[in-house]
Amino acid sequence: MLKVAGSIIIVTASIGIAQTIRKELAEHLRLLYELRKLLVDIAYAAFESMQPVEILLGCFIRTRDERLNRLCKEIAERLIEKKEGTGEEVWRSVFAEYRKGLQLNDEEAEVIESAGSAFFGKSVDENRKHLSLALERLDFLIETARGEQKEKQKVYGTVSVLCGLMLVILLV
């Protein structure tokens, strides 16, 4: 009886682990989409309203991800403080600080950190060119992440359930 109960717990736990991993991968993909939307929103608001980035990030731009909202406010505050020489430096340093919390890998972090050049240029045209480049790179990362997500979900799901079953067999 005890073995049966133990087996059920182990199988349930392994399914749980597989679900958690799946959820994390989906969350990560959602974050990348949210970051993409953030870039587009800032650019659109900047081109439409012609307001400085500190106003846009401080007052108007909101995302569904609370971490990104905090990050935007932090950038706005740092821009208002005017302690770094360029806006890109501010953008890069704040994203570098939030990188761990956002769980971005090296490649993703590099793309996002360099995307600041799309908002602090001398003209709208310059910003547009940088933005299209940043979006292109981000789209490629999203595609890669989607491909990986499908593969990883299968692998992690299978491995964790098999491990659970192995333990059950060992126990029995």
Binding site: A46, M50, Q51, P52, V53, E54, I55, G58, C59, K73, A76, E77, L79, I80, E81, K82, K83, G85, T86, G87, V90, F119, F120, G121, K122, S123, V124, E126, N127
Partner: protein, 329 residues
């Protein structure tokens, strides 16, 4: 049945507000030293630089000059020379890291800061099709510190106001004598009803943002409680729009110059609206010579002309003329 009394209690929590929370607060005090590079900011705390400050001149390769009402001082006694990097960094700060947002202002050669301070820029002109579209690189800056002289127009109100409203009035002087300052105070006083207690609806077309010194659409100067401002718009189009949309009793415009300005003002005058304006002219004789004005003078479109002269000691003297150019005082 006894009525129940409901007591509404409000609780106020005192929180430390972040810089972002203050973006749209009118009271936000602009820390103008923030437009300077970090290594210069500390030096700027000295009273020697800030006392009676009127302008700060920044020129690449030259010492930073602080112009006071009594003379000039130089940063670190003139030992420090401004570098190209310093100016580039300042331009970043002045434009809030967003030069694209100030494209139109840059075409005019200036950016207005919070608090109404104005930064004039010069350097390499960028031309497109014979038109100036920007300045790059910026190598010269002139920061004009805003001074609101509240109450400077009090003595003029009896000459401007009449039983029903005001006379159409034109302020004239040479550049830098204080036309805009005087116009601004007139607007404030009329809007607040300082003369007879009945305030008037005043609309301002602030093409170069010199009257209200709008920053993100919010006037940085006090223009009174009944004043509406349209900033960054050409005067003819702005006057038309305000006449249609805001039903002004008084319309104020700065620096009338082009023929289109005069046509628009005339339309406003004949639409039942009173006009306050300014124009560049050294004296009344110069004013008479202005081609667009001579016709107006004949027809008595404006009933008051107020000349401003700056004396050597910085005080202002005013001369008031009526519609026939007769000196009233």
């Amino acid at each position: 049945m006894a009525s129940k009394e409901f007591r509404i209690e409000q609780s106020f929590s005192v929180e430390k507000s972040s810089p972002v929370d203050k973006i749209f607060q009118w009271e936000r005090i602009f820390q103008w030293e923030r437009i300077f590079p970090l290594h210069i900011r500390e030096s700027l705390c000295m009273d020697e630089y800030l006392q009676d400050l009127e302008e700060i001149r920044i020129r690449v390769g030259q010492p930073m000059e602080f112009i006071h009402s009594t003379g000039s001082t130089y940063l670190k006694d003139g030992l420090y020379r401004v570098t190209v990097q310093d100016v580039a960094e300042m331009v970043n700060y002045i434009s809030n890291y967003s030069l694209y947002a100030y494209k139109e202002e840059l075409k005019q050669g200036y950016i207005t800061l919070e608090g109404g301070h104005r930064v004039g820029m010069a350097g390499g002109a960028v031309m497109e099709g014979g038109q100036l579209v920007g300045i790059s690189p910026v190598t010269f800056l002139n920061i004009r510190v805003a001074h609101e002289k509240k109450g400077c127009a009090c003595g003029l109100l009896p000459y401007i106001c009449r039983e029903e409203g005001i006379y159409n009035t034109l302020f004239f002087s040479e550049p830098g004598a204080g036309k805009t300052t005087l116009l601004r105070d007139c607007i404030r006083l009329l809007s607040d009803g300082a003369y007879d207690g009945a305030g008037m609806k005043v609309c301002v077309v602030d093409e170069r943002s010199e009257i209200a010194a709008c920053h993100i659409g919010v006037p940085q100067n006090d223009l009174g409680i009944r004043t509406d401002v349209l900033c960054g718009c050409a005067k003819p189009a702005g006057i038309q729009m305000l006449l249609r949309a805001m039903s002004p009793q008084v319309l104020a415009v700065d620096e009338l110059g082009s023929e289109a300005d005069f046509v628009a003002v005339e339309q406003a005058v004949y639409s039942g609206c009173r006009v306050l304006g300014t124009i560049h002219a050294g004296d009344i004789a110069e004013l008479r010579e202005k081609p667009c004005l001579s016709e107006w003078i004949k027809r008595g479109v404006f009933q008051r002309y107020i000349g401003i002269r700056r004396e050597k000691d910085g005080t202002r003297r005013y001369q008031i003329f009526d519609a026939q150019m007769e000196c009233l005082c």
